[in-house]
Amino acid sequence: MRIGHLIRPRLKKSFRLFSSYNSFLKFSMSIAALILVIVFFIVLKYFFNYIAEAKVLGPIAGRVFGPILLEKLVELIILVFFFMLFFSNLVSALTAFFLEEDLPMLIVSPLPPMRLFIARFLTAMTESSWMSTLALTPILLAYQTTVASPWFSYLLLPFFLALLVLIPCLFSSGTVLLVANLFPVRRMKKIFQFLALLFFAAMVFFLRSLKAEKLLNLKYYDETFKNLIGMQIPSSPYSPPHRLYKLLYNISSGDLSLIAKELGIISAAALALFLLLAIAAKFNYRRAWQKSFETLDNKVSGLEFLRKLMIWPASYLPQNAQAIVKKEITIFFRDPAIFSQLFMVGAVVAIYAYNLFILPLKDVPQLFSVAANNWLLYLNAPFIGFVCAAIAMRFVFPSTSMEGKAFWILKASPIRIGKVLKIKFFFYLLPMLLLCALLSAFSVYVFNNSSTPLMILSVFNAFLITFTVTAFAVNLGSVYANFEADSPLKASGSFGGFVYMVISMLYMLSLVLLQIFPIYMYMWKSFYYTSGYLSSTLFTLSLLMSPAMTWMWCHLSFKKGVTALENYQHD
């Protein structure tokens, strides 16, 4: 059996799943994605230009040091992506090599283990890297246009991307194969998940700690510039991320002899790594797979006290709701990835708070004013909504998918699907509103605004958005439920998760559009002390229409969710 035969069922499955989605939806989502990529590219291009020119340093020093700063930044980006790919592939490879359901059938077949391993390596690599590759492409294009690369550099970019994906995946697959012989795989997966999330959070903190926003401010520029110039990116001339960066640099500068040399070295290294991995798989994969069965971690343990404490208030709910809420809490607390998940929430909140604190408003006098602060507080509500949507995407969106193959239990029971969705919604709404309240209180404190109505409207909007994104997460999570997903990340990282984020943003946009003119009128009134009859009427109308529009969005998504689950055809 060829490797292609082993990959084809997976490809067909993905293709069928994608084909099953509504054509209009696919078209509109593709357009939305394209617009997002273009906007991302333009913003990055502007940013890279800003760095490369370093005008704040003056026309001469700026031209000398700007490109150095840009190269440092790009090397840092390559380093981040390299490790991101390494860690995300660790978890995918572990599942693909040892935990998938069809493996026993394939392992007992006469198929050479090496071929099976390579097929799984390719699928794990694709699954774990497609999103990162999509995100990296506009970054690299923006870099190449900034440094005015020759035309053939753009043609060589796919080769660079392929190597950037392949090399960390080879390292991570080798690591998985090695440690599978030493530790119980089912626990290792959880360790890797935790490590990967820890790494992402650490990376975000690291990037934030660079305080790039201080480049906006002359007062800090000198200090930041010195830090960046002197910054020691943790790399050596022989480290793969450094070599990959050198390859990108050579490709972008267009020196063909250097490109050929660097491409040759890296390709040869990748080939050698691949051969080593294939040989290791040939002699070791079957044994490692057999070992993965040795340990099952199945006893109720840890966090039981906390679980019991959390389910205690649920005892006062009606019996149906009590059953579902207790089940959700119990399963959440028994998920060994809980620490990493809670850590991520903590990291997101901390980064949000940190971002607000370091806003350069007060340091840039020409930007700072009371009115600007009021506006920023108002516009901060969708930002809080975005943070809540990101959290809901990870925790709420997969809640229906995580019913898994046990979904028949709810379907066969007398409880209506609509009621199940409502219970889930209210269960998740409480912590989401708490998070929103925390972020709102913090924002009000930081912005120190002067307009009470705008402050109230901002907090009101933040709550309205949180309410809606939670409803979207439950309802769209049902429309795009993936009962085969073995982890919440798989459910939230799907096409449905993308649709959820786009629709959440569309809702936030519609809310802002509904309110922006009345608020503008209101602000104008406060500046010019004119008769405010019209502005007050519009302001009140928009306030009344916002919940009505929100109800409509939520109701429509609820109907879609219920219909999708009622018509769901079980395998």
Partner: protein, 259 residues
């Protein structure tokens, strides 16, 4: 509908795209009977059971349970049914006790009553000692037993079970068979599908053979023998002849159509 009829399946059809899994099936089940529904793979057994339990919707037709429509009044009909699927996918991170509590909750059964019903069954299936372990550590057969216990927690009138003996050891099969008989003696109706024809012959009051979405035989074993003219002591021979005949007839029909 007569008083003793508890389920009435009316012109039930189900299509998956162009494929017709069920073709206008009509069937009546009586209160207190043990009814076996048998057929070759892909005949439509599981589809019928899933419609009967409200998991999927039929393309046309209806199911009446005690005179109430499953499609129009699912919340009234579903409490009358207890269901065990062929593959017992359960919440793996719950223990059996927690799973029973969950089931009791969604069926609105007081927890005390539910646990009173489940404890003797846990003892019977030799799972009482494992009642607080996570279900994920259980074998297929053990999960099947947990699913069976959960299906009767709300004391349903009709017990629907898909392939009850798959993955069970001989002792458990014996216990299950006895338990079915106990249920029917209490006036409960048991509807089961199985490939274990000996089990079906052993315990059933009536049998129904389905092939390619249509019923090909229905009644007590002797009634089916008389109706078909196949006088075999074993259900297996009857089944094979009926389903193979049906298959070869349809193959002939296909050949004629093609020619």
């Amino acid at each position: 509908m007569t008083e003793e009829n508890i389920i009435e399946i009316q012109n039930l059809s189900k299509k998956y795209g162009k494929f017709e899994a069920l073709k206008a099936v009509n069937l009546t089940l009586k209160k207190g009977e043990l009814f076996s529904f048998i057929g070759p793979n892909g005949a439509g057994k599981t589809t019928l059971i899933r419609i009967l339990t409200g998991i999927i919707k039929p393309t046309s037709g209806d199911v009446l349970v005690k005179g109430k429509s499953l499609l129009k009044e699912p919340s009234l009909v579903k409490p009358l049914l207890g269901y065990v699927p062929d593959r017992p996918y359960l919440y793996e991170k719950l223990s059996p006790y927690e799973y029973f509590e969950f089931t009791a909750g969604i069926y609105n059964v007081p927890l005390k009553d539910a646990l009173e019903r489940c404890d003797p069954l846990l003892e019977k299936f030799k799972l009482y000692e494992r009642r607080n372990d996570l279900i994920e550590s259980f074998s297929h057969g053990m999960k099947q037993k947990i699913a069976i216990i959960a299906a009767v927690l709300h004391d349903p009138e009709i017990f629907i079970i898909d392939e009850p003996t798959v993955g069970l050891d001989p002792y458990s099969v014996k216990v299950i068979k006895q338990y079915f008989k106990e249920l029917t003696s209490l006036g409960k109706t048991v509807f089961l599908t199985t490939h274990a024809l000996a089990v079906a012959q052993d315990v059933s009051d009536r049998i129904c053979i389905i092939n390619k979405g249509s019923i090909v035989a229905l009644g007590k074993l002797d009634e089916v023998q008389n109706a078909t003219g196949i006088h075999s002591q074993h259900l297996e021979e009857l089944f094979l002849q009926l389903t193979q005949e049906e298959t070869s007839q349809s193959n002939e029909a296909v050949k004629l159509t093609e020619s």
